[in-house]
Every structure is written in structure tokens, then in C-alpha cells.
């Protein structure tokens, strides 16, 4: 069974970077070990920190296909693994109505691979080369499904009663993500390597903005990253993630803003905050204080990264 790798941690960092994913060593190490040790990678963290992205860039970097299983409440085996192609079966039964084949023979025909619809899990283990299997938001699936998945991830084979056991041709690279809406079982956790992704640091977010929003000025990008860093410390209903940062940056660019001020923030506030209460909180006196502190630190050439902790304390007081 062939399973290409991505090289060492340094090379993975580069490969991810090439695919437009700004990773740190922690993420690169987790991906590296997941590939090397042939273990699924469980990625947890708040919404919008780039968990799902990991599987996507992994598949691109590995030059293999991405097979995605989106989990939701009520997801069952027939949606995740396989389903019979009922219309096709029905048609076959009709066609064979005149023949004198026995029921058993007919049954054998219509419950064969030709009538099988492969769903993501089955696709993943029968793929012609090891794909990246993304099991997205596993916490949304039911506990029963979780145990079923655990079985597949342990044995790399599935049994279809009418056909028999199908063994994996290649063991996929597996990435599971969870938003922690419910606790996952210890058994599943222990099958996996674990990666927690936090909101990015100022430096990392700055790099992401500069990389993903071409044409943005260094000054504005720094202000945005600093603003995001500070605003996430507020008591918000919904903390904006990196996706929101990028939306916001693009919006500001479109509006030809080259720096943050009250007007530009108010005009674009919908990009960041999707709750009325959050918007109100941000629009309050906090906004002026935060903007003033950011501008001041930038003017003094102090370096925003270093000033942030101080600003945070002042804002709190």
C-alpha cells in the first residue's frame, strides 16, 4: 500500500505555505506525525480558525484527492458508507419479470457491486490511491455513528451483508474536525493524534492577511490584525474567526480604506459581528479607545506585537 509523505516538518511548513495555508510548527508537526504514524488527526478549536482547511491543503500538498464527509445530526451509515441504487434495482426487477430465474438469483444480481452507491467512507477506502478523508464536524453526528466510524478507522474494512467484507486498498489520510458541541468518546480520541488550533497570534494573523489579501498595505494589515487580537478579548456572543478577518480586510480594501477609523469600522462592522449585541458592544466607547491605542503604538514605531499586551490591559481598566 503506497502512501506518499510530505517530507519533514520543515518541508510540510513550506508545502502548506505554498498552498496558501499559513501554519505554525505545531500544526506542521501534527500533520507530519499523522502521516508518519498512520494515525487520524483530530483537530479541535473554535469556529473559523482553519480546521477544515488543514485537510484541504493536505490533499493539495500530497497531490491526492479529498473525500469529505460532512457530519450532521442523524447522519447514518447509508449516507456515510453506502446505499443501494433503488431505481436501478427496480428497473432490473422489471426487466427480469419474464425470466424464470429464481428469487435468490435475482436477489444476487441486484445486491451486487453494480447496484452499490459508494458514499464517502466507502469511496475513501476503495479509492485508487490513498486520499485525504475529511470527517468534518464529527461532534455533530450521533454517538452511534461515532462508534461506527471508530470501527472503520480501526479495521479499515467494512462489511456489506449482501456482498461481504471490503478491505481498504489504501489507508487514507484522515482528518477529523470538531467544534466541541458535544464531548467525543475517549475511544475515538485515543485513536487519533490531537491538535488544538487557537485563534492566531497577531503575527500569524498579519501574515495571513498579507498573504490572502493582495494589495493591502502593511499599515492597514497590522491595524486589522491588532484590532482582531483586541476584539477577541471582549465578551462576545460570537467571536470572529480568521474567515471574518479576511472578509473584513477585503471589504475595507474595496472601500479604499487605508487605515482604521470609527467610520470605516462602522461601515463594515457586519463583516465581523453577526450579533446585534456584539455590534453594539464594539461600537461603544471601546472602539475609540482601541483605535487610538493602535494608532499611537504604530506611530511610535513601538511595534504593535509588543504593544498589544499593554493596550489590552489599558482597555480592560
Amino acid at each position: 500500500m503506497s502512501r506518499p509523505t510530505l517530507g519533514n516538518i520543515e518541508q510540510i511548513l513550506q508545502a502548506l505555505e505554498q498552498e496558501g495555508y499559513i501554519a505554525d510548527r505545531e500544526i506542521a508537526t501534527a500533520i507530519y506525525l499523522s502521516i508518519e504514524l498512520h494515525k487520524p488527526l483530530l483537530v479541535e478549536g473554535a469556529a473559523g480558525v482553519g480546521k477544515t482547511e488543514i485537510a484541504k491543503v493536505m490533499s493539495q500538498a500530497l497531490g491526492t484527492d479529498l473525500i469529505r464527509l460532512q457530519c450532521y445530526e442523524g447522519l447514518d451509515v447509508s449516507t456515510a458508507l453506502y446505499e443501494w441504487n433503488y431505481p436501478k434495482q427496480m428497473l432490473r426487477i422489471r426487466l427480469e419479470e419474464g425470466t424464470d430465474r429464481t428469487v435468490e438469483e435475482k436477489e444476487q444480481t441486484i445486491f451486487s457491486e453494480a447496484f452499490l452507491l459508494r458514499r464517502p467512507l466507502l469511496q475513501a477506502i476503495t479509492h485508487h490511491r490513498a486520499p485525504v478523508l475529511l470527517v468534518d464536524e464529527i461532534d455533530r453526528a450521533d454517538v452511534e455513528f461515532e462508534s461506527f466510524l471508530l470501527e472503520v478507522l480501526s479495521d479499515w474494512q467494512v462489511t456489506i451483508p449482501e456482498i461481504g467484507t471490503i478491505r481498504a486498498r489504501h489507508i487514507p489520510y484522515v482528518v477529523l474536525t470538531s467544534n466541541r458541541t458535544r464531548e467525543l468518546s475517549d475511544a475515538l480520541r485515543r485513536r487519533c493524534l490531537y491538535l488544538w488550533i487557537d485563534y492566531p497570534s497577531f503575527e500569524k494573523e498579519l501574515r495571513i492577511v498579507l498573504r490572502k489579501v493582495p494589495g493591502i498595505s502593511q499599515q492597514l494589515a497590522e491595524q486589522i490584525a491588532a484590532f482582531m487580537h483586541l476584539v477577541r478579548r471582549l465578551d462576545l456572543q460570537k467571536v470572529p474567526g480568521v474567515a471574518e478577518t479576511l472578509d473584513w480586510s477585503l471589504a475595507l480594501l474595496r472601500l479604499h480604506r487605508d487605515h482604521l477609523d470609527r467610520t470605516s469600522v462602522e461601515e463594515t462592522i457586519g463583516c465581523l459581528f453577526k450579533h446585534h449585541e456584539d455590534q453594539r458592544l464594539v461600537r461603544g466607547p471601546w472602539l475609540d479607545a482601541a483605535l487610538a491605542a493602535i494608532h499611537e503604538a504604530q506611530r511610535d514605531g513601538e511595534g504593535l506585537a509588543r504593544a498589544l499586551n499593554r493596550i489590552e490591559r489599558t482597555l480592560k481598566a
Binding site: K39, L42, I110
Partner: protein, 383 residues
């Protein structure tokens, strides 16, 4: 990449794994093996790679990361300790004086027991309870009676939730696979349709029980309620709090109540201390937020005497309400004649509470059961 001999390292990794385990991290031989395999594949002389290799393999959850980060520098001191980012100088758990307690209902508990005949009522002073957490004065008969009631209440809470969830979606779905088989059997047109039913989903209960000084006279009673609830419904997570929060689910999983009480009195710090409901609920949200979803019923057992910050309580209640399916607040004081939920804490919390009920004696639990039963019927008819 350098791959030196890992021989002497192995023992250290094993010891480190044991330390993690002692601090509650699920870390067995499998994890150790993974860690060693991982170390073979990274540059172990690079402190960062070394740390990340262990961190990725030995830990499986966010809670455990904190344990790992705290222990790592202690065990691998040659490596410079990782700067633990921003550790705010928040005020520590200030030991607060126990607030005055509402003893009013003590007598009422005694009153309610009268219906049971001339059975002896455990009379004890608040002082004695403060001195020693002795739960053993319950008679077996009381335990049994309360246990039965509590089971009924727990089921009530649980089924109500699952019913609502069930109605919200199609409870029947065509089972095409079985239909097709039937079809084959009969050869012709569809003779009958096979259905499959979704399994009824179980509700999760989260119990947060106040064991602070002001709750003293009820605590042992409430703990019993919590224990029985945990027995009746499979999926229960229990916590007790006063100035801080402790998860007691494992302790309550003991075979008998007595055993559970025993383990509890040994494991819970701050028993009978002051109350900081807001801070405790926040602590719950920080560590256990993921337990809350629309199928979770949160039951808070407290008198609402809060000596902490009301603002924090407000935030905590708002979030708990937003994330969970139902919030039930059981207040033992509610049974006292003329009691009005006027304490600041109670006032703050009430807007976020779906059911506000008494829980100071057997009678009030019966009442609660009736309330919940009535609600089920009412909603049932309306739809």
C-alpha cells in the same frame, strides 16, 4: 534529522506518561508507544519538536493540554520552560465568609416527614454540619423514598426533552432497503412499505449543585437528588460549587449512595464556604461548555445567595440559556412561606430560567414532578 538512541529517553517518557495519568489525562501504553514512535521521527534535540511530538501524541483533548503544558517544563527541565503566554493577575479564589443562611425551611423539611409516621427525623444544627460532613444519618427508608421520586422526576425531565426533539422531525422514514426486499419477495408491485424509526435521542442532564454555607442544610438532600438523577438517566454530568466548581460525576458513580457521599466529602474542597455562583458557572462554561447543546437540560440547585459579581452571573446565565435546551432552577428557599426571590443573584438569574421550582423536601420534589408532568401534557395537547 538526528535520530539518537532513545533507550534512556523511553524510561523518562514512560514516567512522564504516568505523571499525566496521575493528573487525570487518559494516557496509556498506546499513547506512550505513539509518543516513542513520534520521537523517532523528529529531531529530539530540538526542544520545540520534542515538545510538540509528545504533545500531539500523549494528549487527546483540550482540557488535557493545560495539564500537559504545566507538567512538561517540570519533567524536561533541561529544556527552557515554554512561556505560558498571558497569565493574567486575576484575583485568586478569595476565601469569603459564609453568608447568612436561610434556615427557615429546616423545620419544613421536618414537617414534611411527618406524613411518614413517627419516623425519626434527623435533627442537626447547622454548626454540626459545618464541622463534619456526615451524610450517614439518612435512614434507609428515606433514601428509598427520595430515590423513587427522584427517578420519576428524572424520567419526566428526560422524556419531555426527547419528545420535543422527536416531534421536530419526521419520526418515520421509509426504509427503502427493506421495502426493496419485500418487493422482490412478492415479485410484483410494492406490496407494502417498510418503515424505520429513528431512535429516540436521550437528553443530557447537567446538574450544578450549590454546596456553600447558605445551602448547608439542604446540601446532603440535594446531593442525594443528584445521585439518584445520575442513576436514573444515563447521560448526566454533575458538578458542585461554592466558591469554585468541582466535577463530581465520577464520585457519584459509586455503587451505593453512601459510598458516593463518602467519596464526595473527601474530594470536594470549599464545602460550606461562601458562594460565588457567577464565577462557578463561568468556570463551568470555561471547562465544560461543550456539554451544552439544545438537547441538554441544565438543572441548577441553589438558593441564589451570591457573594460574587452579579455581572459575571448575568453573563454566565445568558450563555447557559443560549446554549442549552432548558434551564431549571431548584431553590430550596422557594418553599419557605413568604419567600421572594429578591436576592440580587436570584434576580439576575431568573430571566434565564425556564422552570423555577422548590426543592427543600420530599413534598416539593413531588410537586416538581407534577409540574413537569403537567407541562408535558399541556404541550402535548396543544400540538
Amino acid at each position: 534529522m538526528r535520530r539518537p538512541d532513545l533507550g534512556d529517553l523511553t524510561a523518562h517518557v514512560v514516567a512522564f506518561g504516568r505523571a499525566l495519568r496521575e493528573h487525570g489525562v487518559l494516557c496509556g501504553p498506546g499513547e506512550i508507544a505513539d509518543a516513542l514512535r513520534a520521537l523517532e521521527r523528529v529531531d529530539v534535540l530540538d526542544p520545540e519538536q520534542f515538545r510538540l511530538a509528545l504533545r500531539t501524541t500523549l494528549v487527546h483533548g483540550h482540557h488535557d493540554l493545560r495539564v500537559f503544558d504545566a507538567l512538561f517544563p517540570l519533567y524536561w527541565s533541561p529544556f527552557p520552560p515554554v512561556s505560558s503566554s498571558q497569565e493574567d493577575g486575576e484575583d485568586g479564589p478569595a476565601q469569603e465568609a459564609a453568608s447568612e443562611k436561610g434556615q427557615l425551611s429546616m423545620e419544613r423539611w421536618a414537617d414534611a416527614e411527618e406524613t411518614e409516621g413517627e419516623q425519626e427525623v434527623p435533627g442537626y444544627s447547622a454548626l454540626e454540619v459545618l464541622a463534619r460532613k456526615d451524610f450517614s444519618t439518612f435512614t434507609d427508608r428515606e433514601l428509598e423514598e427520595i430515590g423513587k421520586l427522584v427517578v420519576a422526576i428524572a424520567r419526566r425531565i428526560a422524556t419531555r426533552m426527547s419528545r420535543r426533539m422527536q416531534r421536530a422531525r419526521h419520526s418515520h422514514r421509509l426504509d427503502l432497503r427493506r421495502t426493496m426486499r419485500l418487493h422482490l419477495r412478492w415479485g410484483g408491485d410494492l406490496p407494502e412499505l417498510a418503515f424505520k424509526r429513528r431512535r429516540v435521542r436521550k437528553t443530557r442532564l447537567v446538574l450544578l449543585c450549590d454546596v456553600s454555607g447558605s445551602m448547608d442544610i439542604y446540601s446532603r438532600f440535594l446531593i442525594q437528588f443528584v445521585y439518584a438523577l445520575q442513576e436514573a438517566v444515563g447521560n448526566v454530568e454533575s458538578f458542585v460549587f461554592s466558591t469554585s466548581l468541582t466535577r463530581v460525576t465520577p464520585a457519584l458513580r459509586s455503587r451505593t449512595l453512601r459510598e458516593a457521599l463518602d467519596r464526595l466529602s473527601r474530594t470536594v474542597p470549599n464545602w460550606s464556604g461562601g458562594t460565588r455562583i457567577g464565577a462557578s458557572l463561568m468556570q463551568f462554561l470555561e471547562g465544560w461548555r461543550h456539554l451544552l447543546d439544545p438537547r441538554t437540560v441544565v438543572v441548577i440547585l441553589s438558593d441564589g445567595w451570591d457573594t460574587g459579581d452579579v455581572e459575571i452571573l448575568h453573563r454566565a446565565m445568558r450563555e447557559i440559556r443560549a446554549r442549552s435546551g432548558r434551564v431549571i432552577w431548584l431553590n430550596p428557599l422557594l418553599g419557605s412561606p413568604g419567600y421572594q426571590p429578591l436576592t440580587r443573584g436570584m434576580q439576575t438569574a431568573l430571566p434565564f430560567v425556564d422552570v423555577f421550582a422548590a426543592a427543600h423536601n420530599l413534598e416539593s420534589l413531588r410537586e416538581l414532578e407534577r409540574t413537569l408532568a403537567a407541562r408535558v401534557r399541556r404541550t402535548g395537547r396543544r400540538e
